[in-house]
Symmetry: D2
Subunit: 350 residues, 4 copies
């Protein structure tokens, strides 16, 4: 940490800063420039915080030199983490696709969705049983019953399931249903009590980026989970909030490239929530993979106009199948492989 003193800071003020650094067990290095004196703290600066120095007399400002995250930083863990979900590896050379409807509605709807998802070759299935809705009057999800429907539908094709946890009190139900991947939604990225709880279980977690969370805040949210002991963390970029109103969010592909450098964790992209319109999904999916995403989280519904939630962003199974073919070619051009489930027909033929 560097503490920049005001131009007219005196020796007593410098000494007070020095004392506070030493009290935290770090060493001190002073550099007197022509316009400012700088005080450097030598040692593990994560023990220090700007607010320990900024209120002191004579201090102009103080800055961390190191990033605040450690467990999730690539600096300290060079090899990429691969999260294995029932045989599907996320974070390695393969590109994975997780697909399914926004919300669980009925068993037949889920079965049809699972059929479409499996036929197109996706290796994992998603579906929301608990829905974070802006309006208290909107459909709030089928709850625990929805978890069972999702589990049943996915089981018909041996697909692991991904679903969102909103409330700490529901974690036991998720464990009972053997949810394969717990999703933490954008509105809960800094719900720290929830992060602490999923940090205590041995289930992979998809941590969606908060709507206006910085890379640093996002990685610190992941650090909460890792600090609890759960290192199976997958970061999901889902579009950020900006001034633009022509589309719901701005898919931040730069974040994908930056995260692959900053952290060893897998990074995936949700093109469906990013744009908010089905017709944008192919372009955003391709952009995500081209930027380096390890997987995609795509909404697919057997009949989008009848969907109970986010109807305008779901692909039909046919559209999804065509996109999978495109992603296949693209992954190959990027030097990766789209992992694609072989259809039952193919499996039987072998």
């Amino acid at each position: 940490m560097i503490i920049v003193m005001e131009p007219d800071a005196g020796d007593a003020e410098i000494a007070a800063v020095e004392a506070r650094i030493r009290a935290a067990g770090l060493d001190v290095h002073i550099s007197r420039g022509t316009e400012r004196t700088l005080i450097g703290a030598i040692g593990d600066e994560r023990k220090l915080d700007p607010e320990m120095f900024d209120p002191l007399p004579g201090v102009e400002r103080s800055m961390h030199i190191l990033k605040p995250y450690k467990l999730v930083a690539r600096e300290w863990h060079r090899a990429s983490t691969i999260v294995n979900v029932d045989g599907a590896a996320i974070g390695g050379n393969a590109v994975q696709v997780i697909a399914g409807p926004c919300s669980v509605e009925t068993q037949p709807q889920m079965n049809a969705a699972a059929d479409g998802v499996a036929a197109a070759g996706a290796r994992l299935m998603r579906g929301g049983a608990f829905k974070p809705r802006t309006s208290p009057y909107a459909f709030q999800g089928k709850g625990v019953e929805g978890l069972t429907m999702l589990r049943n539908a996915a089981a018909r094709h041996g697909l692991p399931i991904v679903t969102e946890l909103m409330d700490v009190r529901m974690l036991d139900a998720f464990l009972e249903q053997r949810v394969d991947v717990i999703q933490i939604g954008t509105r809960n990225m800094q719900n720290f009590d929830l992060l602490k709880e999923v940090g205590r279980v041995d289930v992979p977690v998809i941590l969606k980026r908060g709507m206006s969370a910085t890379i640093s805040e996002w990685l610190m949210a992941a650090e909460y989970i890792a600090a609890g002991g759960n290192h199976k963390i997958i970061l999901c970029e889902r579009g950020i909030r900006t001034f633009e109103t022509a589309y719901r969010n701005v898919l931040d592909v730069t974040a994908v490239a930056v995260l692959k450098r900053e952290t060893h964790l897998p990074v995936i992209v949700d093109p469906s929530h990013a744009g908010g319109k089905a017709w944008m999904v192919p372009a955003l999916s391709c952009a995500g993979v081209a930027a380096g995403a390890d997987a995609l989280l795509i909404e697919v519904h057997p009949c989008p106009p009848e969907a109970w939630c986010d109807a305008d962003q779901a692909l039909t199974p046919a559209e999804f199948g065509a996109l999978m073919d495109k992603l296949d070619a693209l992954s190959c051009a990027m030097g990766r492989t789209l992992e694609r489930r072989r259809s039952e027909a193919t499996i039987e033929a072998i």
Copy 2:
């Protein structure tokens, strides 16, 4: 709701939209323009949603005409709501001040804080026992023990207490400690399960604006609480996230003016978190009251450089006293009155 059809939409596509509106129990009104056909839904459009129409063939887009909130809207409840907290009215002509440290540290610290807050004339006291911290390694608050310290310190001067609830599982502890006002923090503005729970109790709630929440999302979060039966809701503007990095947040005074028109609920301002620096607090406090805020939420610490949290934004009791005097004059110029607790000395003298 208005549904705008694409230029080449045919009769069958228009009929499909019409059918969907009628199925929801509303009437239909069609207007054929030179470039577009518009379909209007007549009736309670809150039963409809753009995503019911946008995925239909031939639909360009659809728009709500009415605001999505109802219980909290001034349109349906013209008189301003006044939330009475143990005799301190928030939302009427009086301007209130809630003050205290960012976090509860020790009983002596809290007592000193309470003394300073009371001496300057604030009518309510704040203090955080559960702290939402970006880093898992930072001080997370004193927890239930902190609630007791806050209660004890405030009781010495008869001040009602305001403190943040982060986790639904802690609500019972808040009720046991008879917390006078439950604060929902910026990161939990859309923690819908938490909103539902505080909607079920009879305790005033301060609902802070999410870091990048729109006015509409914020009012819909308030609607969650109101829909549960708790109408004692106070909205708190605390600065929004923008591109600017010279200060922590941008205090959005326009939101104050707009909310006073859109909702009947009281609106207050937190100048301490907005700017993030103690020296900004007086200017931002004055701007907040000048824009129409019903109360201020100000951080005061007996010795800011020693504070365990947000040290750089707390005022000393002396600075706070001087600010109260300024707010007194300002409130008066705005045609309001700063409600100011008479000091014990004054009370005794009467």
Copy 3:
């Protein structure tokens, strides 16, 4: 245009709105709902503006139904515009690359840059002679002399040149030097006098998106150029300003997909300014092409650490060559072709 009346608007107020619509030569259609009366204007609503109605008594708000741009809208010009720059077609099936240094420094530097750009196969060359710099003390560009250096260097390989115009008074010099493509920078996207001037010449224009310009404002800026008679307009996404500070801008790939639908004009991407770091350029270039960009604008410098401007974002010729190979494979996977200049050696061999 739809005018939404306030709940208690009376007949006189409705009549006043009606009169104003008819005065502009449009027809009127009134729809009385249960909560609001809506007044629709039938005809060319581009003659109307919300500010004609919003200040009238009884009006709640008014909304355009149509987009404000016309000449640049795909709705009125279905076929994609292909801008031909000296044989290089931008906007068709081919993907083009424009490359070169941020700023023109010396003739040897420009020659080396041109050699590298040509060797890697780019079809067009860029270089800045007039530089918009945040600081008045920073290098402001070589001016007219720089245009000559750029022209000379590019001529050695027959590359058309792209360079930025900042000041209307310099347009003649650009025409004299036969600049092949005039670039309007992000800070001048709404310099309307400059837009009007480049609208009067017959030279292709690259219009960069303003740092926080909406899609609509950007297309209206293009409409200024088109309205002047110059239809050779190329839109360039170069990253937008958001709350994120970990990188310079956020490359908005959603804008690429949306623009390809909204306008018939070519859309290109500048991955160098978007991220601000050379190591991000390959990922962002790929993401841009995957999202549908028609060309890329890439900074290449013979020796980046010696560059006088934006040194940290330029690729070396070798890095650029490797990226061209990657883009070749990617374009192919996307069903397009990277247009690649054959090297002199190859040409001679034929």
Copy 4:
């Protein structure tokens, strides 16, 4: 400037950084920490730029310690600058008000506006003859003829005039008309050629903040003007662009407080463009003054619903008069004085 080396940077890489600092004439100070080596440049760091170091091998990042602006910084010019406009002092203890219509339309309209502005006691008059309009089809201003109308109307009451310059080629016309204050609009804040030109004349300049300009960029734009020799610069906060869509811009009152500390230049507020609605203007005007603004720039039109531009944000003369009374009381409460022109009647009576 501090250069942070990568953890594994070797002696040769450190030496290369050192050489580059010394080549610029500064001294070097090296600090070896446990996790990083830091290299400090001692001397006038404005000669250095991060891009001189960031591309060098072994450099993680580099940071300025000092602010990039000098002429406009309060650090180097402690006393507040007072810009005197024909007797009206902006930047001292008095609070000034500049009022008038958005655009000059006709001589009678301007005369009526001037009468209203003068009657309410404002000391300066504004009016736009050249209008930056988003649409090429919208009214673009009356041009030079409009300047004359503004001058004539204002002269009837001896009011100095403030009007916007968009195009360098019009500067001579502004000087001929003896425009008292030249306004640089938000879209031209970084039109550096325009800034250089107004830096060469001896006329006060109001520099509006760019729609998404940081404080630092804004002050650097002012530095362009000051570097040219014109120190009569007035900064105008007019609302910034954010994610919020319920109002046009977010008036950034924090910027006012921060600027009063960072620069010696006067800071004023435009509440009319900030909110975009007349009903918001009183609240935003009060908030601006409460935050410390030295003047307000308020739109007043004799008949807002008939205004040719921004009709929905202009106050009537009567509304403006009432606001002036409120500002009078408020300025007094803030320890300042609203400077108010005595009416002709009063003057005659003396």
